[in-house]
Amino acid sequence: MVDVVNKKDVSVRFMSGDKACAEGALMAGCNFFAGYPITPATEVAEHMSQRLPATGGIYIQMEDEIASMAAILGASWGGAKSMTATSGPGFSLMMENLGLGIVTETPCVIVDVQRGGPSTGLPTLVSQSDMMQAKWGSHGDYEVIALAPQSPQECFDLTVKAFEYSEQYRLPVFVMMDEVVGHMTEKVEIPSPDSVKPYPRRYTKLPPGEYMPYRPQEDLVPEIVSAGQGYAVHVTGLTHNEKGYPEISAKAQENMVQRLTDKIKKNVKKIVLLEEENLEDAEIVVVSYGISARTAQYPIEKAREEGMKVGFVRLLTVWPFPEEYIDNLAKRIKAFVVPEINLGQIGREVERCAHGQAKVLGITHPGGGLHFPEKVLETIRSAAQ
């Protein structure tokens, strides 16, 4: 298991993924939540509305998801650790202001409890069909970080991690849950508050006048300030220079967009969390994430019992995609099998990164239910032939 969160003096609880996600946020220091009710993410907001005021934070219900996304960015500029939670239709509305969060390098966390789409789709039923929207949903070129939990425990752990990444790399980070994981109730170990230290904001020590809001540090991430600290910084969605001033030129665009993507791409190895099983002798590797990775466990065991050399890679970080890792793996195996509850979004990524060196068999599902083990097993069998 990947050790995502340091768990000392745990208290064991029985809770849903949605609640565990909210608890993870609180553990990570979240003190501002803005949201709008939507199934199946509502329980995150409900739990936050109860717990935040009791921990000195602010819960605000906005007029829509556009406003919710705007409010968490505004609060972050004011120094808050902020979060919102939504599902497909609301996620679509957030894409506009997400772009501003990316380009102004504003730390915050967005939880998407995925349900069937397009449009209103299947409000109460599972899907994983927003994975590409998380990567490409807002206009323009940019890179994101998206994490995919497979259990209520991981809803807790990966939400803590999402806050950490958002501060470390200065950007909005996605927790890509799904309806099953969000509504599933099971054991969650919550560590004592002193074993999880909220990741500190990377405040500058430079005085006003010397500080440049977008001058990168060695890891390509700039230091930050908050409103009210006397820096009189300008924050704009226009293409800007290191000073934060608008600069409408191809040169400024290149500097800004290239660094925004590089700060993620050049740190891929540090950001990617994944779990590996039986890769040593593997000829077939199942690559999956979220609830589909969990339902793939049983057929993988069965396939190994049948004598097939099947390995398993579970992506906890889906974006940035581990391109090099998949490429290296493709060099020494026969085939990838990629089960997911969409029509082949991450399967296509695996195919892209395999560069034709290994077959890629997707196991798709338009949403509304989980994969049956037989279907996964059959696909593994046909990959072995």
């Binding site: 109860q50 605000i60 609060a75 500029w77 908050s226």
Partner: protein
């Protein structure tokens, strides 16, 4: 004094310091606004009001959307947030709640605030969110070249209403009143003294305050609607506007050929969002004390 003398005299003087210099990002000037545009006087009057408001420069934050008026955020030397089109109000809401001691205000146009941003406006007013909203109403989408907006009067010519605008405009003060704003005023850029007083009052007022500033846009509105020069429209606003502080909201419609009614229309008290938040927090703390040991799950 002859021109030659003036030059000699200027050369021997220290570089002049404008009283607003320290409030402006000098390195961002010149600004983008056209000559004759009303945003300039509205902007400088806003700075005068900020200086008189009792708040320090560090306490202010400006949040704006997209458009000519919203560019003001880039020129003010305070924490400034030039956000997405129509969304300045929810950004400002988040900022204000994270920094309740700061004076957070908006400076944006009629199209930004009331077309794409209309929903945010009414909800912030309903909640009596502690924000001051300054709306430059120049009757047009200026930055995109003069398309009709929710501020464009019926019949006015614009680049997308070449035969005359068919849509009735919003009556902004009436809307703000109905939605629950506690301070509502309308002035024009030809009434800067009254406007300044009104802005000072709005900055000092708790809760949601709203000021509409009628402003000429000679470049893309005036030249299509019989006011090709900014000064002509300023003169018209000065001569024909009627000051009536007691006017009812329904009497504040703007129509071509009719005088514009201006004044300080609403100044009332209603519990603000932050005041309710404080009371709410007390209730929560009391509950926590009583239920000590029982964590909400």
């Amino acid at each position: 004094m002859s021109e030659e003398n003036m030059m000699t005299e200027n050369e021997t003087q220290e570089p002049s310091v404008h009283p607003m210099d320290s409030w402006l990002r000098q390195d961002r000037l010149p600004h983008i606004w056209c000559s004759g545009c009303g945003i300039g006087p509205a902007f400088s009057t806003t700075i005068s009001a900020m200086k008189e408001s009792g708040y320090t420069q560090e306490q202010f934050a400006i949040v704006s959307g997209i458009g000519c008026s919203s560019r003001a955020a880039g020129y003010l030397k305070i924490d400034s947030f030039h956000t997405t089109h129509g969304r300045a109000i929810p950004y400002a809401t988040g900022l204000k709640l994270a920094k309740p001691d700061m004076k957070v205000f908006l400076f944006a146009g009629d199209g930004d605030l009331f077309s794409i941003g209309g929903n945010h406006f009414i909800h912030a007013a309903r909640k009596n969110m502690d924000l001051t909203v300054i709306c430059i109403n120049n009757f047009i989408y200026g930055m995109t070249g003069g398309q009709f907006s929710p501020g464009t009067p019926l019949g006015a010519i614009s680049s997308t209403s070449p035969y005359g605008n068919e849509d009735s405009p919003f009556n902004f003060p009436h809307l703000a009143d109905a939605a629950g704003a506690v301070y509502v005023a309308r002035w024009t850029t030809a009434h800067v003294r009254q406007l300044k007083k009104s802005l000072v009052r709005a900055f000092q007022k708790k809760g949601f305050s709203f000021i509409e500033i009628i402003s000429p846009c000679p470049t893309v509105y005036g030249r299509r609607n019989k006011f090709p020069l900014g000064i002509q429209m300023m003169k018209n606003l000065h001569e024909t506007s009627i000051i009536n502080h007691n006017a009812k909201g329904s009497e504040l419609d703007i129509q071509i050929g009719k005088p514009i009614v201006i004044g300080n229309f609403i100044d009332r008290e209603r519990e603000t969002f932050l005041e309710r938040q404080a009371a709410f927090q007390e209730r929560v703390n009391k509950w926590l004390k009583e239920k000590k040991g029982e964590t909400g799950d």
